[in-house]
């Protein structure tokens, strides 16, 4: 099988002729094709030829294999095994096939350049030879590349030749006679036709297009209000009409309706829902107005609103806001009440923290941060007496008995009882007597604890000091003038103390309180006691020594409390500027809460005789309200705010620190942080 190029080319012609002869049987029609395919078959040189032919014959017998067996017999092994060897394999006789010498590149190139048929040459690595493809083979390859059959003459779709003859063979498929139905008209068809005919006759099937009739007529007849003319079903809620356009929607609005560029830019900073939907624009003339690009969109939105928006009947409040204000009785009918400043008591050097009016209404005592207590004559505004007590006066209270001109004042963190030195000689003598105290040994040192209160003689001022274990915040007299109470907010179980003046005795009846006590006061007529903690007001029966009521204020922090002279109503001022009125017979919750002050309420007070109450606040105002309590239990108290009293100026962020009514006249005293006491009269 091994053959060189030279041989091949030389022997090409006769070999092909030789091949043609025997390959005739296989390829009946095409000689040349056959000759082509076996071009290399008989190229075996010398001794190989016979065996080659025999092999070819053997192959040919079982298939149309037209290939010559390769001269190398190593089989399908990787050729790189022979890379290092000198031979490329073995021929059929077992002899080594030597590798050819490598041609130089120049040589190969020259050879190629000379040879016109070079493009047909392929190097066969297996056999280590160059093979030249014939023209026909090239044709086959190109056909294969095109996806056609290798040979042009093959007809892939030959006409089918039916070799069987059917006609006149005398073998019919069926010999049954023709059925009757072939000759009779179909019953079912007829039925269908009849149906159609009937349908057409009855007008069920129509072929022509229906005429466009005008179906407008007078829909609404006479306009009488009959039941027929009423809409049925649920109440109809008409959709709100679209907003009518304003000046700014005009094509030529006046200049003031057109926003400036800065304003338009500032719209970008707004929330999208706040942003104006429509930005006015000005056109010089009508012809320059363009079509509105959102016309269709807005129409569509309106449609959506009409059929998708839930509708309700909403009562639009179209009222004057003034009508919302409650109808109050006219202020004229509620006179007298203090409304204008009539006197100013000047003399203190620091904020006046507390004032108290003597029960007869003739004297006014005041305590200030400058460490003095002053007594004034109310009618003239003259300062009658000054005590220098050497410490902040927090609170001052006049004994409610006219024959006991004694002042209780909280100085520093202790209580001081002094003789006010007003009134007749006899009265003063009696007061001096009362304030006499023999220096006792420390009383109850037994339990090792510091005593809640020690009664001591005050040397300088000829009075009594009640030295408390902690700072005192509040003092209040009983209406009979013998007992008084002090509040020690941080005193835990000894926070509220009761003292008896005549016996010089103190005790602390309330062991447990709901929170820090703020103020305590006596019932004006009965043996009851009110303790205000930060959120609640506890009402105790002193005789039975038990809790009667607990008033829930709902305030953040109570600052002051006052009891109506009738005893059933309580007002409470708070540090968030709210004032609560409790009707203790009605409920333990506030009957009315007035948010009247913008800052802390410092004090609230009732008038003893007139239906008035007042509150003073850090916002430099005092409120005077009418608070009528009726003896008829069914009638609720009437509360009418009457007047805002101004005049005090703010100092150090504090305003009015105290307010007290005159016991007999409708006058109000206010003590300001600006060290002035003012008297407001009708």
């Amino acid at each position: 099988m091994g053959h060189s190029d030279g041989e091949h080319q030389l022997e090409g012609d006769d070999l092909s002729a030789d091949d043609a002869s025997w390959s005739d049987g296989v390829w009946s029609e095409d000689d040349d094709e056959g000759s082509l395919s076996f071009e290399g078959s008989g190229s075996g040189s010398g001794s190989d030829a016979d065996s080659d032919e025999a092999a070819a014959a053997a192959e040919e017998s079982d298939s149309s294999e037209d290939e010559v067996a390769p001269r190398n017999t190593v089989g399908d092994v990787p050729l790189e095994w022979y890379k290092e060897e000198e031979h490329i394999g073995y021929d059929i006789d077992g002899r080594k096939i030597k590798k050819r010498d490598r041609e130089g590149r120049i040589e190969a190139y020259l050879k190629n350049a000379d040879d016109a048929k070079n493009w047909r040459k392929i190097y066969d690595e297996y056999n280590d030879e160059e093979v030249q493809i014939t023209k026909e083979e090239a044709k086959i390859i190109s056909r294969l590349l095109k996806g056609k059959t290798p040979h042009g003459n093959v007809d892939p779709y030959p006409d089918y030749v039916d070799w069987f003859e059917y006609e006149d063979k005398g073998h019919p498929l069926s010999s049954a006679p023709e059925p009757k139905r072939r000759f009779v008209p179909s019953k079912w068809e007829q039925k269908k036709v009849v149906k159609l005919v009937r349908a057409i006759r009855n007008g069920w099937i129509k072929f022509d297009k229906p005429k466009e009739e005008n179906n407008l007529y007078l829909l609404w007849g006479d306009e009488t209000d009959t039941a027929e003319n009423k809409r049925h079903g649920l109440s109809y809620i008409p959709a709100p009409k679209p907003n009518l356009p304003g000046h700014e929607e005009s094509y030529n609005p006046s200049v003031e309706f057109i926003p400036t560029q800065e304003e338009i830019d500032s719209y970008q900073l707004m929330y999208e829902e706040d942003r104006p939907k429509f930005i006015p624009k000005r056109f010089e003339c009508l012809r320059s107005v363009p079509a509105y690009e959102k016309a269709l969109r807005e129409g569509f939105d309106r449609c959506l609103d009409l059929y998708l928006c839930p509708r309700t009947r909403k009562k639009r409040i179209n009222i004057d806001p003034e009508s919302l204000k409650p109808k109050l009785p006219s202020k004229k009918d509620l006179r007298p009440y203090p409304k204008t400043c009539y006197l100013e008591f000047k003399g203190h050097m620091g904020p006046v923290t507390s004032i108290s009016v003597e029960i007869t209404g003739q004297w006014l005592a005041s305590g200030s941060c400058d460490g003095t207590i002053r007594v004034w004559e109310v009618e003239t505004g003259r300062c009658v007496k000054v005590w220098n007590v050497g410490g902040d006066v927090r609170r001052i209270a006049w004994n409610p008995l006219p024959e006991r001109p004694i002042l209780a004042a909280i100085v520093g963190h202790d209580l001081l009882l002094i003789n006010a030195e007003v009134g007749s000689e006899e009265v003063q003598m009696r007061a001096k007597e009362l304030l006499k105290i023999d220096e006792m040994a420390p009383q109850d040192d037994t339990d090792g604890k510091k005593p809640a209160v020690r009664w001591m003689k005050h040397e300088k001022l000829d009075g009594i000091t009640l030295i408390h274990h902690k700072a005192v915040s509040n003092v209040e007299w009983h209406f009979k003038g013998d007992y008084f109470t002090t509040v020690v907010p941080s005193g835990d179980t000894r926070a509220v103390l009761l003292h008896q003046l005549t016996k010089k005795h103190s005790h602390h009846p309330f062991r447990k309180l709901p929170g820090l006590p703020v103020a305590a006061t006596f019932h004006p007529t009965q043996k009851m006691f009110f303790v205000a903690t930060k959120k609640f007001v506890q009402v105790y029966d002193l005789q039975k020594a038990q809790l009667v009521k607990k008033l829930e204020s709902g305030l953040r922090e109570i600052s002051s409390i006052s009891i109506h002279p009738g005893g059933d109503n309580v007002i409470v001022g708070s540090k968030d500027g709210k004032l609560c009125w409790f009707d203790t017979d009605l409920s333990t919750r506030p009957y009315k809460a007035l948010k009247i002050h913008s800052k802390d309420i410092t004090n609230v007070t009732f008038h003893r005789k007139y239906p008035l109450f007042a509150s003073s606040s850090e916002d430099c105002t005092a409120y005077v309200c009418h608070g009528m309590v009726y003896s008829d239990l069914n009638q609720n108290p009437l509360i009418v705010p009457l007047e805002i009293l101004r005049g005090h100026s703010s100092s150090d962020g504090r305003g009015v620190l105290d307010c007290k009514f005159h016991p007999k006249q409708p006058w109000l005293f206010t003590a300001g942080a600006d060290s002035v006491i003012r008297l407001y009269c009708d």
Binding site: F207, E256, A291
Partner: protein, 617 residues
């Protein structure tokens, strides 16, 4: 079983039973969502807001009765038929049964909405009350481009156009138009029909943009109902003025209308109505009904030397008139008809509107919005013609008093007429007087166009031009010369009288107010003084303090007044319940916001003025 026990899934009570969510409603009706929507739109069923939203906050709720109302409607069955029909057609086409498909397509199931219209609007006034949206929508669709092959059929757009013109013709004919306003969005009109104020918007007569962010199914369903409604409303209205409906138009003009984008259609309609009403009267005359009235009309006609009173000839004569008049005597026909049908039931406003442009003759240039002006000018009693075919008179007519142009310069000028911009007509209509034309002349920037729908006094800000108009109105009312015609004389006299009494009253009021104010001031002073007085009389006088007080009072007088007012407010709000106080505050905020808006306008105005004056310098 106790009453309160309810097995799961059984009947419910309260809001849970009364209201149903949309999904459930759709399931309940066994229709698709699209059909449900259509049903809701046509029947006018809308979601409602239950007191308690049982199924969740973000759902829409329908009243169960509404849904039952839908369920009982024959329309629902009709929609099913349509669905089935569509399936049949599809099947026939799929089976290549062209014959059957054609036959089916020829006769689709149809439905009428007249019953629904009557159901939703049992009386005519109800329909008029809800006509705003209807008119706006129909006018919008009338302006849409009629493109073949789009979702919107050309036929429907033509129908919309026809309906809108019929409506406008009626309004124009009965002089029911009250207010007009050119906005950026289009032109707003307000008419008063049977005491109902009807406002609608027509887009500018320009090519509208078809956007794809709208669902045309919904809009077309609405339009379907609105077309029917407006058809019936027009029928009723035309019937009320004795005109046949639907109108049969002059074929010549109709042909023109088709070519010239509907412009003379309105005119044709107007003419039809004029003649038609006459014809109808003639018919009623022959029928022997209303003999007295027609007799009166005949007399009128005799007075005008226009007609012989023979009933059988009336039709012919009117037809003749119709053809003959526009060419040589344009105003006459209108005039005649007006005279003949002068109904005494016209209220004062209608009379006023009718006579606004009474003796004026307008000519429209090519570039002005013809449709709206052809509608407005006759509605206020004017005569109008335009440049183009079918116009009743042309530009060289000597009687033309106003030519409406909208171009920078006018080349050829007739001295006998005034050349004004279209805004002049609109402003005249809103002011109800003939405004001076100085500001509106050709080439000038017209004065601002103000909305007639704004109550300036309530709004708190009166634009400058509104005040000018007010002054002009007052002047017109006072100085009006007694026109020929006793009615007008009476009117003017009455108006003058009214004016005088009004002014008297106003003056009196003012005086009273001043008095009160003075008194108040005096009282305030007296109060201050009075206190010191009592102080003086009762107690020991504190002279220095007193005088100081007085000084303070004088210097801080204003402050005190303000403070007193504020105190009064505070005092009265102190006793309000929290809810009321909230409401009060909200109202205050609203008031303040309004105030702010007015302040802003004033500020802008000031800036504009100052900048303008700076420029002038």
């Amino acid at each position: 079983m106790p009453k309160h026990f309810r097995p799961a899934g059984k009947k419910k009570e309260g809001n849970a039973a009364k209201y149903i969510t949309r999904t459930k409603a759709v399931n309940y009706l066994q229709v698709s969502l699209a059909i449900f929507r259509k049903l809701c739109i046509l029947k006018g069923v809308f979601p409602r807001q239950p007191k308690k939203k049982v199924e969740g906050n973000h759902k829409t709720y329908y009243h169960m009765k509404d849904i039952a109302f839908l369920a009982h409607d024959p329309l629902i069955e009709k929609f099913r038929q349509i669905k089935v029909h569509r399936k049949k057609v599809k099947k026939a086409i799929a089976k290549k049964n062209r014959d059957l498909a054609d036959r089916l397509l020829n006769r689709p199931p149809t439905y009428k909405l007249d019953r629904l219209v009557l159901e939703r609007y049992p009386t005519f006034v109800d329909a008029l009350r809800d006509l705003d949206d209807c008119l706006t929508m129909v006018h919008l669709f009338a302006a849409l481009p009629a493109v073949d092959g789009e979702r919107i059929e050309v036929k429907r757009i033509h129908n919309c156009r026809r309906l809108s013109h019929e409506w406008q013709a009626y309004i124009s004919r009965t002089h029911a138009l009250r207010k007009t306003f050119i906005s950026v969005k289009g032109i707003y009109y307000q008419a008063e029909v049977q005491g109902q104020k009807i406002t609608w918007l027509t887009p500018h007569a320009l090519q509208q943009v078809l956007t794809d962010d709208v669902d045309f199914n919904v809009m077309l369903t609405f339009l379907e109902f609105y077309e029917t409604l407006l058809g019936f409303v027009n029928f009723k209205l035309y019937h009320s003025i004795n005109v046949n409906y639907p109108p049969i138009l002059d074929p010549r003009l109709e042909a023109l209308a088709a070519v010239l984008y509907s412009v003379p259609e309105l005119y044709a309609l107007c003419r039809y109505m004029s003649t038609g009403s006459g014809r109808a009267i003639g018919n009623s005359d022959s029928g022997g009904v209303n003999e007295k009235e027609s007799g009166a009309i005949k007399e009128n006609e005799d007075g005008n030397n226009k007609a012989s009173a023979k009933t059988d000839e009336s039709e012919l004569r009117l037809a003749q008139l119709q053809h003959q008049l526009p060419s040589n005597e344009p105003g006459a026909l209108m005039h005649l008809v007006e005279e003949s049908t002068a109904v005494d039931t016209d209220d004062d406003e209608t009379k006023e509107c009718k006579s606004l442009f009474k003796n004026l003759k307008f000519y429209l240039s090519r570039e002005v919005p013809r449709e709206s002006l052809l509608f407005i000018i006759p509605a206020f009693g004017g005569t109008v013609s335009w440049e183009g075919e079918g116009a009743p008179f042309n530009e060289i007519d000597e009687d033309i008093t106003h030519q409406i142009v909208d171009r920078p310069t006018q080349s050829h000028v007739f001295l006998s007429r005034e050349y004004v911009q279209p805004q002049w007509v609109f402003d005249c209509v809103n002011a109800r007087i003939i405004l001076p034309t100085d500001g509106y002349l050709v080439g000038r920037v017209p004065p601002p166009h103000l909305s007639p729908f704004v109550d300036n006094d309530a709004e708190g800000y009166i634009p400058e031009y509104a005040e000018t108009i007010k002054r002009l109105q007052a002047a017109a009312r006072n100085e009006v010369l007694p026109l020929p015609g006793d009615e007008d004389l009476d009117n003017s006299l009455v108006a003058a009288m009214m004016d005088r009494t009004e002014s008297n009253e106003a003056a009196e009021k003012k005086r009273k107010l001043e008095m009160l104010e003075k008194q108040y001031h005096d009282e305030l002073k007296m109060e201050i003084d009075g206190v010191t007085f009592s102080n003086l009389s009762n107690k020991k006088p504190d002279k220095s303090q007193d005088t100081m007080d007085k000084d303070d009072a004088k210097s801080d007088h204003e402050d005190e007044k303000k403070q007193a007012e504020k105190d009064n407010d505070d005092i009265s709000t102190a006793l309000m319940s929290r809810r009321k106080r909230g409401l009060y505050k909200a109202m205050e905020i609203g008031r303040e916001r309004k105030q702010d808006k007015v302040e802003l306008l004033k500020k802008r105005k000031k800036n504009a003025d100052s900048s303008a004056s700076a420029k002038r310098r």
